[in-house]
Assembly symmetry: C2
DNA sequence: ATAATAAGTTAACAGTGTTAAGTATAAGGC
DNA sequence: GCCTTATACTTAACACTGTTAACTTATTAT
């Protein structure tokens, strides 16, 4: 009867329980310092149960990554609805991006810092999915920059080059703050704001 | 007599052999995928011999970073001799930094990208050394930016914050060009120049 | 020659990701 | 009801990992 549906639902629930436990542990202790056994202990199942829901440890991280990337895209989508002030939209978008990275450093690492060739094998489903959603996210930046140029808020720069340069800068501060936390950084919000304003001033008409 | 010196020299030689093997393996397979046993196999010694020269695996990575940073510092030192046009000096310095990364992507990866966050344990000798040489390299950038502000080529920005923001941007484009080779980048020199000019325009008085 | 020192090794510990084989339990057909 | 079959989950094991302690071998100094 409906028992099949119930079992399928229970399976999905356990899957989510694993994802939640894994995310919490990854964020608290770092991906490398969390073992499958630790996750299993947390949810009070045997280690091998995880393998009934995920191919391996990397797959687990990728699913988390996909979850959070989707959130990033959603945040961008919400932002680009209101394009009355495209420059401010860009400002907010960059903030969202950088803070996303700082909030989910492990996810950011896998998606944007680690050599994708090491982690992903092209052709794998999860790889294509991640690539697609990344492209979708970058599309928002391209859109906003184009709007800034179209409305002559920015001087007549090449949209693609500018978008890539802006992404580079945003990625730079995000990844450095994540990876080199031993460096004597100035107050992080001050640094981020300064970088963003610098970029925008460098583009203004 | 001189036998003590010879033994000391032989010890240093083996140390360098280990470093070279480790760098090659780290670059080819990634830090996490290279075991002490793999390194030991490569140099045809037992795994524990490495521990006679390095405290642990992280120490090994730190020493490699130190080597790379020294090279970069030397390049910067040559540049900052001629400070007649500080803005152009900054331009050139950024070019040197980015092209250093693109020319020696392996070195750059190990030092600035691969750098795992659990590596840093304040109090350790090698930590202090790496921190010192990083500070030295960064000092050149700080110096140039300060000079730009002092001579009123730049508006009155905070030197430290600006320097950190500039480094972030330079690191961003370098690491992305290295790591995300599959992304449809515009012509790389165009991208680099555009970013540099954007930064400088955003700072000009 | 003998004692001391250093270099390098072997064996082991406690941990890792992952797989194959086994067990209990629930579902479906008769 | 009973039997078969599929599912959920566990146990045990494999081949690794970084690292330490104890041991052996070789070289030096007295």
């Amino acid at each position: 009867m409906g028992s099949k549906e119930r079992r399928g639902r229970e399976k999905k629930e356990l899957r989510q329980v694993i994802l939640d436990a894994a995310r919490e542990l990854f964020l608290k202790q770092g991906y490398e310092n969390v073992s499958m056994r630790k996750i299993a202990n947390q949810i009070e199942y045997s280690p091998t149960t995880i393998y009934l829901h995920f191919k391996d440890k990397v797959d687990l991280l990728h699913c988390l990554c996909h979850e959070t990337l989707s959130q990033l895209v959603k945040a961008f989508a919400a932002l680009s609805q209101d394009m009355k002030d495209p420059v401010n939209c860009l400002r907010k978008g960059l903030r969202v991006y950088i803070e996303f990275g700082l909030k989910y450093p492990d996810h950011y690492k896998v998606t944007f810092i680690l050599h994708p060739d090491h982690v992903d094998q092209p052709g794998q489903e999860i790889y294509e999915q991640t690539a697609a959603i990344s492209e979708e996210a970058f599309g928002f930046l391209r859109l906003i920059v184009a709007e800034c140029v179209r409305r002559k808020k920015f001087r007549k720069v090449d949209v693609e080059t500018t978008s890539q340069a802006i992404w580079s800068a945003a990625h730079g501060v995000t990844s450095l703050l994540i990876a080199h936390h031993e460096f004597p950084w100035v107050e992080k919000n001050k640094l981020i704001d300064h970088l963003i304003e610098m970029l925008i001033k460098g583009l203004k008409a």
